[in-house]
């Protein structure tokens, strides 16, 4: 593999779990095309999370192949049609389980970062 390509894939991998969850969550609110999706993630995270398109499209196509999202074409005034993704039932279930896993994880990390001193409890 060329080093270039590997770098792209590695970044996807690091973000993969999270990125998938973010995509699924964003699509739960409303079906969107790729550009709108990346914009929504950026806006909803207060411009903190910037989704790399080099990771976004592979992720979308992978999720589609797994049957977690599905796509349909919609005409637009741009010229090219827009490919609109929406969440499937399997995707909703997957989102639930990923969310609960994520919440457990963040709670655990928070527990370590902000220990509660038992003695100080009144």
């Amino acid at each position: 593999m060329s080093t270039n390509k590997t770098r792209y894939q590695n970044r996807t991998e690091i973000l993969q779990g999270t990125l998938d969850m973010l995509i699924l969550q964003t699509l739960k609110w409303a079906p969107r095309h790729g550009y709108a999706l990346s914009k929504a993630i950026r806006t909803n995270s207060g411009e903190i999370l910037k989704v790399d398109t080099g990771s976004l499209y592979p992720a979308l196509h992978r999720l589609e192949r797994k049957g977690l999202i599905s796509a349909e074409w919609k005409a637009s005034d741009l010229g090219p049609r827009l490919r609109i993704y929406h969440l499937t039932n399997a995707g909703k279930r997957q989102l639930m389980s990923e969310r609960s896993r994520w919440e457990r994880l963040t709670a655990a990390i928070a527990g370590i970062l902000n220990p509660v001193e038992k003695e100080n409890v009144p």
Binding site: S2, N4, Q9, H33, T53, R65, P80
Partner: protein, 891 residues
């Protein structure tokens, strides 16, 4: 494939559209936030990143990447093949030859050895064998079963359906001319146990399977075709076999055979009143069985073994020490297996050499493509991808070679079979069926890995820049070593085949120069069936034989005649245990000798030298002292340095009779009245390694009456002639027809023919191995030439410098030759070691094989070295003619 391709194109377009939409939306956003139109486009694209890479990574997510790659690789391979037609032709031919030859040999192995029996559910068929304690099955083969034991076993068994058959032969006197035929006596269940339907008519009925029932017969299919022209009115017709008239009730299925050849006639076993069938001491019956639906092999084995031990207790006088065994029924193919595997191995070596050749061709190609590959790596191709592409190329090449090879095999298979010495068992089952095709495809793919992997693994990964920067002329050390490795292995393999061919040649030379122990010139042997009328009355048999001998002697050109039951170098075998003193140990522990009965002129006819004493004469008759003549091998092994003449041997199994009973141990000693020379009974080559070499002869006149009929069925006559032996055959046939003209002479051969065919297998193997070795030598020489020409070509600039610095053409030639000599010698060294091992295997597998001798190597190796040096001379001369100026300018 086309479908995938079409889908892929559509999805590519869709992806393009999706990304384009993304870019346009981003551009519009940028413009709305106030950027200029031109800047907005740039910004959107910058924001997006590498479009092509994104596309590629996205495409990977579709999951059918491999198919697309495969298509690419195929097209790429085809393109590159079209650029180098010469390479493709040479590689294809080499592979087609290798794979074709291997396929032919495998179809033999598959048809003869691997294919199951051609009956329904062949894996549920079993054989029931007898076994006597101490019996060496490996040497003497499986024992059969007594008919009465079979009947008991059949009645008791809950796990097996059983059937019995006895192979026999006799004279068929009507319809048509009398002839000697093979027949099966079978129990009525045989066809239902094997589960083959009759071609015509019906099987025997249970009520026909007893003495006195109406005589009925079933015809063998081939016999029906030849003698009744396949007419259905054969049913109901009658035939006369051994003077008994039978009504034909059925025709057996085509090609049906279980043991030996396809029989001509079948008759009910239970109708035969013969004494040996009703005595548990004799075991003439083959038993086949089929496991009942719910039974397992283990159950059947346990059950039959139990029955066997019951029988051993109940009939201790005959069955003591005997047991019954159940084994899976396997096709009866004799000992042809080792020959077939040997040839498959040899042909495999040729294929390996072919692979090495193609590999070195591919490697040369890979090296010259190194820069191209490095370029592709630089452009982002992965190593796995490049390896896969190289393997696709070689797979394409080998599959094409395989198809050509299968076509060659298809065309050549039947010529090859016709060329096989003697009868190849199950030859009718040999065909290019799915097994063979799967094998051919497997071999093709395997060889593609063999010759494709090394070049493929050379795909550059590291040092890409270095490869791209260096000139194409420089050759890395590793590829030179790889090239040499191919040449070395080719030479090593060629050595193995050459030495094997040399060993076979030496064996053949040695065997043809051996003294057969008798005078094979002007000696005619033929089997002789007496008139069934004479056979029916044992009292008349000796006179009938005497009459045959007297009449034969009257034929012009015949000098002497003998009747004998075993003829040297022909099938036929009667092995009997003997002991040099009266305290005879159990039978299974006795040393065994080949025993033949003969009439007095035997020695004179055969030309066997008399060493001591005398041979039989007319005074050795029934009632006179029991005498035998032994050969020098038996004399030596029984008495060592002591004089054998005048001593006695105790031979419990001899056909003598006491107190009007049959099959009682013969406890009287046999006096040795003569010692004669050893005869190579087992063939010129085979005799030295035969399990039983000791021989003795006993007078036919002293064979007891109950045995005469059986003995007479086995007898042959041998004649010494003063004219070419085949010229007396017709007059002899006429003379011996007998009063009822129902005496038949068959299997007529000259002893020279027998001696010649006893070496047929060795001769055949020598021919094949010589062909293989020649092919191997040729391929190896082509390989050496190709590799050296290539390596030298790569060294032209270096040679140019050397010559510019003052090296002479001779020195340059020496330089190249030294390089090739190093490879050749290393190959010879490795090959010699393998050849020694291969020689061991040959000695074990082939009768009469001479041990590997130094001489074989001395002759064969220089032969190969010389050929190899000749092959390297051309590139060497080429190198010496390099023009230094030109060479340096090339740099």
């Amino acid at each position: 494939m086309r479908w995938t391709f079409w889908r892929k194109r559509r999805r590519d377009e869709e992806l393009q559209e999706e990304i384009q939409a993304h870019l346009l939306l981003a551009e519009r956003d940028a413009m709305e936030s106030g950027q200029a139109a031109k800047d907005a486009g740039h910004a959107a694209r910058r924001e997006f990143g590498n479009v092509e890479l994104t596309k590629e990574v996205t495409r990977d997510m579709w999951g059918w990447r491999w198919a697309v790659d495969f298509l690419h690789d195929m097209r790429y391979a085809m393109r590159s093949f079209r650029q180098r037609p010469g390479f493709v032709v040479v590689a294809l031919l080499t592979l087609a030859l290798g794979i074709g030859a291997t396929t032919v040999m495998f179809s033999l192995v598959s048809g003869v050895l691997l294919k199951p029996l051609p009956y329904p559910e062949p894996n549920r068929l079993v054989a029931v064998n007898g076994h006597t304690d101490g019996w060496n099955t490996k040497i003497y083969g499986e024992q059969k079963v007594a008919y009465l034991d079979f009947l008991d076993c059949q009645r008791e068994s809950r796990s097996l359906d059983m059937a019995a058959l006895v192979y026999n032969n006799g004279t068929l006197s009507a319809p048509g001319d009398p002839q000697y035929v093979d027949y099966y006596e079978i129990s009525p269940e045989l066809f239902s146990v094997v589960r083959v339907p009759l071609a015509l008519g019906r099987a025997f009925l249970p009520e026909e399977d007893r003495i006195g029932a109406a005589p009925v017969a079933i015809l063998g299919y081939s016999f029906w075709q030849h003698h009744f022209d396949g007419r259905t009115d054969a049913l109901g017709a009658s035939l006369v076999l051994e003077q008994k008239q039978y009504t034909i009730v059925g025709v057996a299925p085509a090609g049906f055979r279980l043991y030996g050849d396809e029989p001509d006639v079948y008759m009910p076993l239970g109708q035969d009143p013969a004494g040996y069938l009703h005595n548990r001491a004799a075991q003439p019956v083959h038993v086949v069985g089929r496991l009942r639906p719910d039974a397992t092999l283990a159950q059947a084995q346990a059950e039959v073994a139990l029955t066997g031990s019951h029988l051993a207790q109940a009939f201790a006088d005959t069955n003591k020490g005997r047991s019954l065994q159940v084994k899976r029924l396997v096709p009866d193919v004799g000992d042809v297996g080792s020959t077939l595997w040997l040839l498959l191995g040899a042909v495999g070596l040729v294929l390996l050499i072919a692979c090495a050749n193609v590999a070195s061709l591919m490697l040369a190609r890979a090296v010259s493509r190194e820069r191209e590959l490095a370029m592709r790596v630089a452009l982002g191709a992965g190593r796995g991808r490049l390896v896969r592409q190289c393997l696709t190329e070689s797979a394409l090449l080998s599959l094409a070679g395989g198809i050509l090879g299968v076509m060659l095999a298809d065309a050549g298979l039947h010529h090859f079979l016709a060329f096989w010495p003697g009868d190849l068992p199950r030859a009718d089952e040999i065909q290019l069926d799915w097994r063979v095709l799967v094998f051919a495809i497997g071999v093709s793919l395997l060889s593609s890995i063999l010759f494709g992997l090394a070049p493929a693994l050379r795909a550059p990964v590291r040092n890409v820049e270095q490869v791209l920067r260096t000139s194409a002329r420089t050759l890395s050390g590793s590829s030179r070593r790889l090239h040499s490795a191919f040449v070395i292995s080719e030479i090593a393999l060629a050595i193995v085949l050459l030495v094997a061919a040399g060993m076979l040649g030496r064996t053949l030379l040695h065997a043809s120069s051996l003294d057969p122990g008798l005078d094979i010139r002007n000696l005619l042997v033929a089997r002789m069936a007496l008139s069934p009328a004479s056979l029916a009355d044992p009292a008349r048999i000796p006179a009938a034989w005497q009459n045959v001998i007297d009449r034969a002697r009257r034929v012009p050109g015949v000098q002497a005649v003998t009747a004998v039951d075993i003829v040297p170098m022909r099938e036929g075998n009667n092995q009997i245990g003997y002991w040099p003193s009266a305290d005879v140990p159990p039978k299974a522990k006795l040393p065994v000798a080949l025993a033949s009965s003969a009439t007095p002129d035997f020695l004179k006819v055969m030309g066997i030298p008399l060493l001591e004493g005398r041979f039989f004469d007319d005074h050795d008759r029934m009632g006179s002292e029991l005498v035998i003549v032994v050969d020098d091998v038996l004399a030596k092994s029984a008495f060592g340095r002591q004089e054998a003449l005048g001593k006695s041997l105790w031979i419990p199994d001899m056909p003598c009779v006491q107190q009007n009973t049959t099959f009682v141990d013969c406890s009287s000693p046999y006096k040795i009245v003569g010692v004669v020379g050893h005869v190579r009974y087992w063939g010129l080559a085979g005799d030295d390694q035969a399990q039983v070499r000791a021989q003795f002869y006993y007078p036919f006149a002293q064979v007891a009456q109950p045995f005469l009929r059986r003995w007479s069925q086995l007898m042959s006559i041998a004649l010494r002639t003063s004219v070419p032996p085949l010229s007396v055959v017709e007059p002899l046939r006429q003379e011996l027809r007998g009063q009822a003209s129902d005496q038949v002479l068959y299997q007529v051969r000259t002893m020279e023919q027998l001696a010649h065919s006893s070496l047929a297998l060795q001769r055949f193997l020598l021919l094949l191995f010589s062909a293989f070795a020649a092919l191997a030598l040729l391929l190896a020489c082509i390989g050496i030439y190709g590799v050296l020409a290539y390596l030298t070509g790569q060294r032209v600039p270096e040679i140019g410098i050397r010559m510019a610095l003052g090296a002479s053409p001779g020195e340059v030639m020496l330089l190249v030759l030294r390089q090739s000599l190093a490879m050749i010698l290393l190959g010879v060294g490795i090959g010699t070691m393998f050849a020694l091992a291969a020689g061991r295997a040959l000695e074990r597998l082939i009768e009469g094989m001479q041990p590997t001798s130094f001489l074989t190597f001395i002759i064969m190796i220089p032969f190969l070295v010389l050929a190899a040096i000749l092959a390297s001379l051309v590139p060497a001369r080429h190198a010496s003619k390099v023009d230094p100026m030109n060479a340096l300018r090339q740099e």
